[in-house]
Amino acid sequence: MRYLPLTQPDREAMLASIGVADIDALFVDVPESARLMTPIKGLPNHSPEMLVERELAAMAGKNLTAGTVPFFIGAGAYKHHVPATVDHIIQRGEFLTAYTPYQPEIAQGTLQVLFEFQSQVARLLGMDVANASMYDGSTAMTEAVFMARRVTRRAKALVSAGVHPHYVSVLQTLTRFTDDQVVTHRPLLTKGAPGDDLADLIAAVDAETSCVVVQNPNIFGHVADLSPLAEACHKAGALMIVVVTEVVSLGAITSPGEMGADIVVGEGQSIGNGLNFGGPYLGLFACREKHVRQMPGRLCGETVDAEGKRGFVLTLSTREQHIRREKATSNICTNSGLCALAFSVHMTLLGEAGLRKLAAYNHARAVQLAERLARIPGIEVVTETFFNEFTLKLKSEARPVLRKLTEHGVLAGVSLGRLYPGVQSLENGMIVAVTETASDADFDALEDAFDEVAAW
């Protein structure tokens, strides 16, 4: 067994020096009723690398890979080109196989990366301080609502209808057993500004409101100015929490921080990380300096060593579960360290100039595609202002259309029927995302495929 260094003679010598007769003697504390005497039934025995590879490759081969087809799916996860450098760096054993940096003298590599990551994220989101990552955007959003409660000592969260419905579900699950109150409603596919309920939210924010949660661009791709909402929140003593699921947009759009957000959470997958069928992803979390002691998650800070040299450590850990236990700001321990590294490497390669150009390219391509699709009879482009994603309204239910488009070898988008099951007013909608990976040929293929399934 290739992963096990002990040989049979090693084992015998070690048992002898421990002073026991056999391995069973080390398992004496296990109640007899629970002792298994043979390997577990129903599972195969050990397998050569070559055969494992063959079997897994066969499973992988059954999936339709994004990179091999015209691909326009977004809605919270985006296919961007990740430079080969990123994957090389994250496979360095010193990054990949290190633990959380508990011994800073021999973990400066990870720690400096985290400090740089935090600094990049804070700038990108326009905030003072970012943490060292959360699991993903959805769990980060829930943590943000809990943090707002700690900061404001209020329990009512207003959630915009433009927030990703999965994110809303997660928040609802996590608040089901607490006395937090989540107020939200179904989105409308309003022509021009689908899912935009800013006016309603401004009207609703009150002295019980801990926070208003809003997504930008929202789930329908719609981009809005959140400054008036921020003003309303602050007037009411509530926090504005902004969710960003496509962080590349921040190379083109005014940041949540600039619009007055108090907490910004995001899904960082777009930068440096692959689609991975949904995970691992990268939760981003940033806030204002004054609230930092209420933040969840790890923080890396600058300090000096005994010789006065600059160095980095995990800090403010009195917020965390290993110190504060049931009084911690969160139960999170393992986070998304390596995904944060991938994000940071990619962001370093981009730099400000690259990010801006990437964002501009995504936007321009999305505008081009929106214009092309708008010309197809039976398709209405609902979203007016957007970054790289917009919503279409078809003249019939979108879910079966998407199924047919898939049969034509095109992954054309996400149906609202899947995201909002049972909501008839939305079932003709579909979300289309356009990144730099979609070529002109892909545009053509999408158009052709729509033509071919034009039964609708």
Binding site: V113, E116, F277, L338, L355
Partner: protein
Amino acid sequence: MVMNNQGRITRLPGVEAMPGETWTGNKALMLEEPLLFERGSIDRCGVDLPDVPVVADRLGGLARLAPIGLAGLSEPETVRHYTRLSRQNYAIDLGIFPLGSCTMKHNPRLNEKMARLPGFADIHPLQPQSSVQGALQLIDRLATWLKLLTGMPAVSMSPKAGAHGELCGMLAIRAALDDRGDDRRVVLVPESAHGTNPATAAFCGFSVENIPANARGRVDLAALLARLGPDVAAVMITNPNTCGLFEPDMVAICDAVHAAGGFVYCDGANFNAIVGRVRPGDLGIDAMHINLHKTFSTPHGGGGPGSGPVVFSAALAPFAPLPFVRKTSDGFELIEEMQASGSADYDRSFGRMVAFHGQMGMFVRALAYMMSHGADGLRQVAEDAVLNANYILAGLKDIYTAPFAETGPCMHEALFSDDFLHDTGLTTLDLAKAMIDEGFHPMTMYFPLVVHGAMLVEPTETESKASLDQLIGAMRSIAQRMLADPDAYRASPHLAPRRRLDETAAARRPVLNYRDEAA
């Protein structure tokens, strides 16, 4: 201390390098590296992009205008920045990483390769299900392994890490209690538990009470039994526990908790000690998370990502979260919504706890690892892990204080305390830092809390005897030298990239975001 743009440690003007020091601050292959923001600038870039087509923008007047302040680097500089930084890390690939409770085992590269197959890495979570049948099959296959290895009837693949798994389990318990209209709210947690246990319970709206350990390092059964009652919703128990000991009363505990109307949540962080030798289901537990990033070797990545699937007893299975994979006559389907399940079995699910379907990338790695080991190999894993820990215990206990060594063998980790250093004024921390100079990552320090100055050493099964002999030899040598000449060890490490770091200063005036001092 400030570095300049050249990555050189700033010195007073006119002062040249001292003997043993260098002008650059580098020491041959131990290289200093400035911050990204000192090396890079907003006009440097390490990517080429196609020209942007000219279109009328549709940003609604919200174009980002102010500088963002994101430093960029060319590709060669980027590679170098991160490669140099990486070399300031210790890692499993370099040597033993005996962090107790963390199961730092070998991370096979096969797993990395498999996780990068485009058929797994390059598929979107919202693709039509017909286009991801292989992915669903993989999840189903892994679920089967986990259920068989634990002897439990159901599993949820959603949780993103161990603590998230705890959340999953405790939410299911809350949902089950609610379902029967039971408003018990107390969760009992042993003193020795990991911090995530009480934190999770609190997160779900439970109130936490500690139960003490007995002199043998196990849950004090009598105290536990005494506390059980109609207000106790659940017990969260770690087995093998965080002292590295098997809870011999586990069956009795489960029986008693059930009899009192509560549930047993088991923290499965230490499953590596028993995989293939004990099925937790046979002990009577109701839920347990499995850290794929511990027992099943997915890499820790300097802090994550992990994956924490939760196995459930029949009593809790109906409350498991959405989504999940179900086998159909001709393939697999992903059940995302209660109403879609078409079965009353699922309509009591507590709902969605994460945006998509869990850590696919980790699932692939874990399954590759499981298939490589097989049922026979996984049993050997547990045996070798336990053998290695006992070998360390036997090799050190004459010098190192070993609080529970008299009670019998340990499981996969050996617990020591710094009592033997008492007269020197040296502590567990000093010992850990001396190990750094010797080329080792130290053990877990000061956890579990039930032992003063705890040192928890978990070698894992992927260490060779030679590696253990070297660790034991070095730890004996350090202890002897500390006892003989304590003052030489108050300020270790001396040979690492940094000397001891001032954590107090870091927390007092937190600097969490780079600020250009010139700006």
